[in-house]
Symmetry: C2
Subunit: 81 residues, 2 copies
């Protein structure tokens, strides 16, 4: 069994109003010195069997096409087990 | 400067229809053997100065009250820098 985590985050140059709202709320609720908050998505994907090169390539491709929007988002993919 | 990452994920016993939809799509698009997908949120929080014990406690509290819904979600908090 393999577990892969894909994190998807807006590109740095794209405005993140959700993150900005969280930044404001954290400040109002007592956390001082918050300079930036970015909000992204995380996918935890469990796979049967080993993650061979073929499936790994497919997953990398789908992370860039299905799980993220390449126009506005970056992703990173980590195999955790 | 400190950077903290808070990952928020539905509790294991809570159904995740978004994750299920992604699981189906990955399969249809050629990734075999996907046994489970869970979708969560990720917050990347940048803080000015050092993260002392006080602010760390405030952040931990707010991660459980503002960033996640403790009824249906778990969170974990990692200091990365």
């Amino acid at each position: 069994m393999a577990r892969v985590i894909v994190n998807v985050m807006l590109k740095p140059e794209i405005l993140d109003p959700q993150g900005r709202a969280v930044q404001g709320a954290l400040g109002r609720l007592g956390l001082t010195g918050v300079t930036d908050v970015r909000q992204g998505k995380q996918f935890v994907i469990d796979l049967a069997g080993e993650l061979d090169a073929d499936r790994s390539a497919t997953l990398e491709k789908l992370a860039g096409e299905l799980l993220s929007n390449p126009v506005i988002e970056d992703f990173n993919l980590t195999v955790v087990e």
